[in-house]
Amino acid sequence: MMKNLIFRGFVLLLISFTGLAQAQLRVETSGVGATQIPIAIAGFAEETMAPQQVTAIIKADLANSGYFRIIDTGNTMSETTAVNYADLKSRGADALVVGSVHRLADGRFDVRYRLLDTIKATSISGFGQVAGPDRLRVAAHKISDDIYEKLLGVRGAFATRIAYVTKTGNEYRLEVADADGESTQVALRSNEPIISPTWSPDGTKVAYVSFEHKKPVVYVQDLTSRQRTVIANYRGSNSAPSWSPDGRRLALALSRNGYTQVYIVNADGSNLRQLTNTTGIETEPQFSADGQYIYFTSDRSGGPQIYRTSVNGGDAQRITFGGSYNVSPRVSPDGKTLAFISRREGRFQLYVLDLASGQELRLSDTAQDESPSFSPNGKYIMYATQAGRWDALAVVSVDGRVKYRLTPPAGDIREPTWGPFMK
């Protein structure tokens, strides 16, 4: 039953999606992978004439990924420059990256790159892109993606975006940034809390919970058009949106019948269907990657644990058994790993569970972890944590070895959601 509520207080909602970069997030690395590929990266020809230094971006991407040791060639090499393979091998490089950034007459840039195997003295990969000045960072990230994929066998996630919520004084903002924390843009400003943002599978929309009506209401916002649609404003609380893999439906937690239960609804808010039916708490639903299951948090056994049920309803199977408090389930894109938050001895920490073997692994050493989110290639998890007094975003590889943090210049940051692969 939709209820008409009178606005109380001063509600300021300013939706802006400016092209100007806001203050960026600072990146600090604290852990690397077990093995690192030594890779030489030359300066790209003419790149100093462009507004973004393409090779600086590539070096930072590969270094933060934890799986590369960067070797500077100390010179500039284009994709046509002759290569002294013996020299590179003697410096310990297994691979070499070269390229050029040529400014076109219309102001755009022709970005070319080549990846070479120094041991076999052959070309592994290479391509050209034309990018406007505001798309140069994305072009560099796409080169990093290609290097990562060709040398590690896994698709790179450098050209993806993240969304998160910041709180500075009484202002809450939903922001979007590149996965490296650069090019931050504001999608929503409010003087009431915003929680649980989550990207649509096509990367053009974000669903979230807003308290602007003095109660939690689920919205979907189209980032390109600014259009906001109320998906759920039923009696009581509406929250915990999660997209189906085909982007056509959302799973939600609604308290409309007196108990917080899991529901499924079309992406436009129509065709509401109740999935769970208990007198307890059923919340934090997550579609599995194949769209067949919903993982969710339930307190039916006395305390919160993670369960799984078919998207068509029916019995639920319990998934977590370690400890008495397991929440915030997130499934890896390949469906094999579950990330979640577990409270052990009073500390709320990020864990992963191998769904086949039941083996669990603690991934963090901090005590206030929240809101995990897998990278779209399944190799990393981003989550919110506390670094001293302030909140920060942390990234850890699924094996726990690679670690880095994204810290905002001011205010608290929380609720990260890692966006999908995009063109």
Binding site: P193, G236, A240, S255, T297, V327, E370
Partner: protein, 173 residues
């Protein structure tokens, strides 16, 4: 003959009138003092004004209805006995004032998942709503919502702050 009678009449009236004007006012006669003078006993004709009218007991800062919060133990959504009088008072008021509506806002302390805390806060709001419903308040007068950990009253990370935040508030619309 007529002239004489007339003359006599005139003369006698003049004499009578002359006689009236000679009565003097006694300026020393006592005048009764009717002005108000302070006396130890109220005058029987005093009227001391009184103001009255209907007052909404909801607005009495000293009344039990001024209490709008119910506090909860850690991980709990049971309405403790010490808060039953407050709940009963609001139930009575709402039953007698069927036009009034409330939103019951549930809150939690900051520890744990935001969404799980939203659901816990909802249980705290529902617990108060159910108590009111059992006491006769109609559904249409109440909505239970949750703020989870998002709108804390106390901002510290100690037991005292946490206890202050584990709370349902009754908010009249």
């Amino acid at each position: 003959m007529r002239t004489t009678t007339t003359l006599t009449l005139i003369l006698s009236s003049v004499l009578a009138l002359a006689g009236c004007s000679s009565v003097k006012l006694d300026e020393n006669a006592k005048v009764e003092d009717r002005s108000a003078t302070p006396t130890t006993t109220a005058d029987a004709r005093t009227v001391a004004p009184v103001t009255t009218g209907s007052t909404d007991p909801l607005n009495d800062p000293k009344g039990i209805l001024a209490k709008r919060s119910v506090y909860f133990d850690f991980d709990s959504f049971i309405v403790k006995d010490e808060f039953k009088p407050v709940v009963e008072a609001h139930a009575k008021y709402l039953s007698s004032n069927k036009g009034r509506k409330i939103v019951i806002q549930g809150n939690t302390d900051e520890r744990g998942s935001r969404e799980y805390n939203l659901a816990l806060g909802q249980k705290r709001a529902e617990a108060v709503r159910k108590s009111l419903s059992v006491l006769g308040v109609t559904d249409g007068q109440m909505e239970a919502v949750s703020f989870g950990e998002e709108k804390p009253k106390a901002n510290g990370s100690d037991e005292a702050s946490w206890a202050e935040n584990r709370r349902s508030d009754i908010v009249y619309q």
